[in-house]
Structures are given as structure tokens and as C-alpha cells.
Amino acid sequence: MLVDIRKESFNAYQEILSYQASQDFSGKCGATASFVGSMRDFNDDRKVTSMTLEYYPGMTEKHLNAIAREAIEKWNLLDVLILHRIGKIKIGEDIVLVASWSAHRKEAFESCRTMMEQLKSSAPFWKKENTTAGSKWVEKNTSG
């Protein structure tokens, strides 16, 4: 299990590849579901040029670790990887990665989506969007 907060930009699929290479899922894993959230150049109707992500050092890591551990237990997963960016994020950069390794597809799909929804609704991160008309805190995540 790996949960990590990243100050530097990362490529989500490269991270999955590196993580898989460091583990031994081969033959046991039948199903991997993953979700990658990336930085768009619009939100609702605003043109966004970049974003700054704030977090709660200590609590954010603790909270994400709890989400991952509970998912592994609930769905009997082989492993979970969660990465999340903080700091200044440019258009097109990856913000979040959630991946589940399982023997079966149902567990992989359900755990990946549930972890992502939990992260969105409760992990302490806050986005401030920088637009051509100034900076603005995002007030609320859209429901999934």
C-alpha cells in the first residue's frame, strides 16, 4: 500500500508502472481499476489558468491512509495506491491517482470509485483557482 502527497508534478500511469514493478502481483491480480484526475482549463464556465492546492499536513496523510486501509479490508484487495498533488498545479497536470488491485473486477471497480468519492468528500484538500479574472477558492466539489 502506498499513499503519498506530492509537491512535484507526476505522471499517474508512470507511477502505476513503477509501483507495479516494485510489487509482486503477477498471477494473483486479475483486475486493476484506476482513476486519474487532471487539471482542466475550465471549471463551470470559468477559464482557469492554474490552481493552488492546500492541505492539512499530518491529517491529510492520516485520512488517506485510513481510506486505503479500509478499502483493502472491505474488498479484500491485493493493494491500493493513492497519490495526490499539492501546491501550484498547471493545466494538464495530474492531481490525483487512485488504483486498486484485486483478484476480481467487481471489487476493483467498486473500491476504486468508493475511495475516490471518500477522498473528494472528506480528505482535507482545498483548491484555489487562478483565472484571468483573479484567484478564487473552489467552494464545493461536484457530487460523483
Binding site: 491529517m59 490525483v96 473528494k120 480528505a123 482535507p124 477558492w137 467552494e139 464545493k140 466539489n141
Partner: protein, 78 residues
Amino acid sequence: MKVSVKYFASLRELIGEASATVEIEENTTVDALWLSISERKNVEFDNVMMTVNMEYVKPGCRLTAGDEVAFFPPVTGG
């Protein structure tokens, strides 16, 4: 007794500081602490989220000396 208080994101900007050490009476609840802070700082904020020692708590949660309390707006990660 003393507790440490942290603020994040838009609430940090409204309060004008990221953290503080606050003297409170024993058995103070987390929502009573928020009420006194928001009145003193003249800050209005709906939907404030509250954590004690990095766990979400209900408004009636009673504080203990040395607790780390945090107040912040709805989270917007992912």
C-alpha cells in the same frame, strides 16, 4: 487550559492567521470555541468543518488540554 487551533484555505484568509494557541475553560465544546473565535474575529462562515486531533468531530465534542483543533471550509480535493 490551552488548545492549539489551525485554520485552512478561505477560512485561514478570513481569520488572518494559520494557527494560534487559545486559552479555554475546561469542558468547552468545539462549536463553542468556534463561536467565540468567529465573534472575536468578526468572521461569518457557513458550513465550517471541525476536526480534533485530526479526526472529524460533531459540534458537541468536548475539548481536552493540548488538543489540536482545526476549522476549515468544505474540502475540494481530488
